[in-house]
């Protein structure tokens, strides 16, 4: 069945709220990364925290609540790269969906 035809015939409306919720769900998952024995989320808080230190290694609590010693710079670079990559994808898909009616 052709979805475009179906949308037209059913006079279906694009549901922006649900679309945003789906994007949030999908891209939040992609922000997770397992590294150096812990699970991390590439979110602004973790990136900012890592940036605020100078030491070579820092001890952090990971997503599962485990305390893990990490190479600060290495993790920071990975989280920043992942954050930028995922945000770009998220933004692009959002733009694509925003045009729908």
């Amino acid at each position: 069945m052709d979805p475009d035809k179906l949308i037209k015939e059913a006079k279906a409306r694009f549901e922006h709220k649900s679309a945003k919720a789906y994007l949030q769900e999908k891209y939040s998952n992609k922000l997770q990364i397992a590294d150096q024995g812990g699970l991390w989320k590439a979110d602004p808080q973790t990136i900012t925290l890592l940036q605020s230190f100078n030491a070579k290694t820092v001890i952090l609590v990971d997503t599962f609540g485990n305390v893990v010693e990490v190479d600060r710079k290495e993790l920071l670079e990975k989280l920043k790269a992942l954050y930028q990559y995922v945000m770009k994808e998220w933004h692009d898909e959002l733009k694509e969906l925003e045009g729908k009616r």
């Binding site: 549901e15 649900s18 769900e25 999908k26 599962f64």
Partner: protein, 267 residues
């Protein structure tokens, strides 16, 4: 270290689960690059097409479970640990539509066992989580389970067997209806028992299981074999009238609760 996926598929009066398993297996091969073993019965094997599973394991189907006036052969999932030919196994329901490599992460984020404890519904953001009963636990989901061959994982599956075989007893304790056996409920209890009546954060997959639920239809946006773009349509009842709403999704795994919708996607 061998790694692969395991699917249980037993045909009933209504649905060809073996065909569903073939469809899902192809997507697992393509998106996750994993071999797939099927656990089935001799009767279901008659649906076999030209797709070759990594291994085909036949067992005796337990036909004692009924749902919606049909036999629902979902018992025996506890055998996954013994039957899996892999050291690291992704155990999936056949109606899970793989559209990305997301599930590869389960082998890395989990220790030796993990499953979902939280769900989201497409087109129904903020839907409440299922619980066993008002006074019991939030349901864990057997739809996606990753396990490795360890003593602890074996114990979890042994607990699953114990609960399946004494389901009425556990239903009585936790005040849920025992009429229809559900692997989700059995897993909810088994994992807690094996962990000393607690739940370990590492046993939970750190993202939500995405469902396609009631009043929701899914249509593939094109006919390519490994299509990953879908239109999801929802009947929203407002003031006694249905308003059709839709979204489009891509590269996103989801679990289809309605088997008729899954069958349509396969075509």
């Amino acid at each position: 270290m061998s790694r692969g996926a395991l699917l249980f598929a037993f045909n009933n009066e209504k649905y060809d689960y073996y065909a569903m398993a073939e469809y899902t297996a192809k997507r697992i091969n393509h998106f996750l690059d994993l071999p797939v073993t099927i656990v089935t019965d001799e009767k279901s094997l008659s649906s076999k097409t030209n797709y070759d599973f990594d291994k085909v394991i036949t067992v005796e189907a337990d036909t004692t479970n009924k749902r919606d006036q049909a036999t629902w052969i979902n018992k025996g999932r506890y055998q996954a640990y013994q039957l899996s030919p892999y050291q690291e196994t992704l155990l999936l329901d056949v109606d899970y539509v793989v559209n990305s490599d997301l599930l590869s992460k389960t082998f890395v984020v989990g220790d030796d066992f993990c499953c979902h404890d939280t769900t989201s519904f497409l087109m129904y953001p903020g839907a409440p989580q299922e619980i066993l009963s008002s006074y019991s636990f939030k349901t864990l989901w057997a739809t996606v389970v990753m396990f490795k061959k360890t003593d602890r994982a074996r114990q979890i599956f042994e607990c699953l067997e114990m609960i399946q075989k004494n389901y009425d007893h556990y239903a009585n304790i936790h005040s849920f209806i025992a009429g229809v056996y559900r692997n989700d409920y059995a897993l909810t209890l088994a994992l807690r028992i094996a962990n000393g009546h607690s739940l370990l954060p590492r046993d939970i997959i750190p993202w939500n299981l995405l469902h396609v639920g009631k009043n929701t239809q899914v249509y593939a946006n094109n006919n390519t074999v490994y299509n990953t773009e879908y239109t999801v349509m929802f009947d929203n009842w407002k003031k006694g009238k249905i308003r059709k709403e839709y979204i489009t999704i891509k590269d996103c795994d989801f679990h289809v609760m309605n088997k008729d919708i899954f069958v349509e996607l396969m075509q």
